[in-house]
Amino acid sequence: MRIKVAGLVAGLAASLAYSTSAFAQELTIFWAEWDPANYLQELVNEYEAETGVRVTVETTPWQDFQTKTFTELNARGSAYDMVVGDSQWLGAASEAGHYVDLTEFFTKHNLGEVMAPATVKYYAEYPSNSGKYWSIPAEGDAVGWSYRKDWFEDPKEMEAFKAKYGYDLAPPKTWAEMRDIAEFFHRPDENRYGIAIYTDNSYDGLVMGVENAIFSYGGELGNYETYEVDGIINSEENVKALEMYRELYGFTPPGWAKTFFVENNQAITENLAAMSMNYFAFFPALVNEASNPNAKSTGFFANPAGPGGAQFAALGGQGISVISYSENQEEAMKFLEWFIKDETQKRWAELGGYTASAAVLESDEFQNATPYNKAFYETMFKVKDFWATPEYAELLIQMNQRIYPYVTAGEGSAKEALDALAADWKATFEKYDRYKQ
């Protein structure tokens, strides 16, 4: 009996020891549920083959991503070792101590030079221009456009368009041209519509969509260093940009008041719209004939310029951060060292991930790999982003509250909506003592 008990205890100890050592050789990365996360899983499988360290990319739908991440972070949970977090989380996550400070790592590996400047500025650094870094640019992304080449290149359509508008039908170079093209193709009787834009107000869909117009119209959301908003968010340029976005909404398919990336790709795959706004990360599905029957006749263009010639796009994408409460921080840092290697970044791009590595982005090999990579490369040097302050979620909800009724229902005017938003934001910054710093 004693021998049996001793054997049992020894077996239990051995299994515990084994499980502990196995645990140390495992890493969990948390991200949203979308194609790039699958590409990342493929990439980290190669890391496992090289090092024996198992890396799992755990995902959750985009709608829950922010809530689930911060619930875990606020609970100081160690379920995840790393998170590929949204750029606007930087302030909240760094100030609360959820992210490990990667400034030393950044300096050591000269990542300010290695990665594209915009990705470093928006995915990694907080506060702005502080030289403090909290994540490694992982998935570069921005908003671009897809369009139906076959509709655009139809001789009858081209002739009719030129007769009506006085210039050739081609991918738009300005927002004014885009409005004309949307109006031209908007034919509800034929179940054909002009344009698909973001309108979902449950997270940052609508705001990102409107940002594309605001930034290209020469506008800004505010002064990110002084928190000044009055006269900036409600500037004349922004009013015009919002009016344009509202006008474009009039050329969307019916029931387009709660749409984000899924619906906007469907607008192309289901022959609904002539043009569709979406993040570049969702374009692989549009060149894949299995997911898009119109793959051969789908073209792409960068966000057009505004009336003053400014041309910017809303930044998407994420950086990868190490969670402060992870029990495997050392292993996570080793993984990051592998992740930033040139060959890893090249492989990441080959798999479909949008690398932020400047060297890879500039290579001909990358730019010619897909019909939209060149547009992506150009866009990544012309991107701007939303506030990254800890109270960004409040700012986001306030913006949604003010602009959604105007964009989708024409309630009030663009000026009224933006004036009210300026007051909301000012009150929020006052609440958090931003003007006393």
Binding site: F70, N191, P254, G255, A257, P390, Y404
Partner: protein, 301 residues
């Protein structure tokens, strides 16, 4: 006597042979339940009440500072919050009224001898057995202006149920009515089947009309159980979140529970959202009390 028999231990039972008293067995059943309730209900309730008087934000490492009634003041002075309450009130009235009318109407139709009555009743109960999220996604497709069957069946062309700011709330309420009318129907059926048949026979002998019979016999006798259904559905409708969240983004359909969710889990205003949750709790308790008082009056008649 019966109670005594219930609590006396059978001398042949295993518990008796082990020397367990009635009290031990009672405690073995009750204490875990009480502990569970305290840990998972009462403690969080009191803890969040404490938070409602602070500026605590769960997303930061900053300590919670006592701010007194500032959160309550801020909420009650926020026009958006009042708008959310007004939307919720409108939703509750439309949704509960619809459920009572449809549910009671169907129960009246089923309260007679018809073929396949059991099967029909079972089929009618199916909607409330489904998950709210599934129902939301399912009805989103039904409402779709391009290929939804509702517009096709009603000949409404491309009518936008969920994108129209004036219609979105009604669209959510219609879905809720479809889902929960069977619940009212079930309770009403129970009430109707309990109405003594001799009352109808007496009414028939007195040549009472259908209208008179309904308002003087059926409705008064079913009213108490109908009131219970109304209490349950009002409480549930007041807390509706998932259906509205899935179906629409319209601010005109932003119920108070959606605002609470955003405040608590998107903005991470823990103190403020705790205060809002308590305001909601007080309102639900107040409304329920009014109903219960009315229910007692109905019972007294």
């Amino acid at each position: 006597m019966a109670t005594l028999a219930m609590t006396t231990l059978d001398p042949q039972s295993r518990a008796a042979r082990r020397g367990w008293s009635d009290l031990t067995i009672r405690n073995a059943f009750i204490i875990p339940t009480i502990v569970f309730l305290i840990v998972f209900n009462i403690f969080p309730l009191l803890y969040s009440l404490g938070y409602s008087f602070t500026d605590f934000r769960a997303s930061t490492n900053a300590p919670a500072n006592f701010v007194g009634l500032a959160n309550y003041r801020a909420l009650l002075n926020d026009p958006f919050i009042w708008s959310n309450f007004a939307i919720t009130a409108k939703y509750v009235i439309v949704s509960v009224t619809g459920q009572v009318v449809v549910g009671f109407g169907v129960a009246m139709l089923l309260n007679r001898t018809i073929p396949f009555k059991g099967l029909i009743t079972t089929l009618l109960l199916l909607p409330m057995m489904l998950s709210m999220a599934v129902v939301g996604l399912f009805w989103k497709l039904l409402y779709d202006p391009s290929f939804g069957i509702i517009n096709y069946a009603l000949g409404l062309g491309r009518f936008e149920w969920l994108s129209d700011p004036d219609m979105a709330l009604y669209a959510v309420a219609i879905t809720d009515i479809w889902m929960w009318s069977p619940f009212v129907m079930l309770l009403s059926l129970a009430g109707l089947s309990a109405v003594p048949k001799h009352l109808y026979e007496a009414a028939a002998i007195d040549r009472a009309g259908t209208f008179y019979t309904f308002f003087r016999i059926t409705l008064p006798l079913v009213a108490p159980i109908l009131m219970i259904a109304i209490i349950f559905r009002t409480m549930e409708a007041f807390k509706t979140f998932d259906l509205a969240f899935i179906l629409t983004s319209q601010p005109n359909a932003e119920l108070i529970s959606i605002r609470l969710y955003k405040m608590a889990f998107q903005e991470w205003q823990t103190g403020m959202s705790s205060a809002l949750a308590y305001i909601m709790l007080i309102m639900v308790v107040g409304i329920t009390n009014i109903y219960v008082k009315y229910l007692n009056k109905v019972k007294e008649r």
